[in-house]
Amino acid sequence: MKPSRKVGFYQGLKYQGRGPMIHWMLHRITGVAIVTFVGLHVLSSFFMQQTGADFATQVNIVYESWQFQILVAFIVIFHALNGLRIALLDLWPAAQNQVDQYRAIWLQWAVFIPIYAMTVFFLLTGSLAAS
């Protein structure tokens, strides 16, 4: 029997899935964001090269700003590390239990925070030096 999909938005918010659910949601949101980001980037590059369109210049200005790059760095690094966690846990099904799931999530953030902090540090110092 298929699970019911007729769940309201606020009902869904009340579901206490904790860490794994939040990471599942963030993985989807960041995944769709990456598809959008890359698609827009390809489109704008094409129009920049072919027509020099105003829209393409605007997109590139946004993409090159440090505020946007901080966001993109979070999205890409999170999606990569979360995907790596999912793939590795799927390769070893013995680790698919409550304890190891939460351990893996903590380990993921222990890897994520130094990498992302370094990225943000260089973005901020670079933008401060340029201004």
């Binding site: 995944g31 890359v38 790059q69 790596l84 999912i86 990225t119």
Partner: protein, 139 residues
């Protein structure tokens, strides 16, 4: 622990489930190869995030030439990096569009939108692959 005695059904969804994991791990490795290649070619001090991402996700001469590093585009016009670009493009577009399909179909019930959106995503996937192959091979 009880052993599973029924082999999993080989369906499209099952194949894509495995493909998503495999291509995800492969893409991380390919990104690291691209960044390592940039380091080996002497780009160390002039890197910003956009430049790193250009190398990590599409090491193409026309792509990395937009960064501030002079004369680095020549080193990328080899068969090795063309194969790397092909691998990244095939894995990344398939991974991305399949993920989009999964998300969309999770929110759709059994309606006539499902085959239509599937077809649309398939066409987008094919179009992206053709454009990328053109950029890699002929431009």
């Amino acid at each position: 622990m009880q052993r599973r005695s029924v082999p999993p059904a080989t369906s499209f969804e099952y194949f894509m489930w495995i493909f998503t994991r495999g291509s995800g791990i492969a893409l991380i490795l390919l990104a690291l190869i691209g960044i390592s290649g940039a380091f080996l070619m002497g780009a160390r001090t002039q890197m910003d995030l956009a430049t790193v991402m250009r190398w990590a996700f599409f090491p193409n001469p026309n792509h990395v030439v937009n960064s501030n590093i002079p004369d680095v585009a020549i080193g990328w016009a080899t068969a090795f990096w063309q194969i790397m670009q092909m691998l990244i493009i095939i894995l990344a577009t398939t991974h991305g569009y399949n993920g989009l399909r999964v998300v969309i179909e999770d929110f759709l019930g059994d309606s006539y939108w499902r085959p239509m959106l599937r077809g649309l995503i398939f066409l987008l996937w094919l179009f992206s692959l053709i454009v990328a192959f053109y950029v890699i091979l002929f431009s």
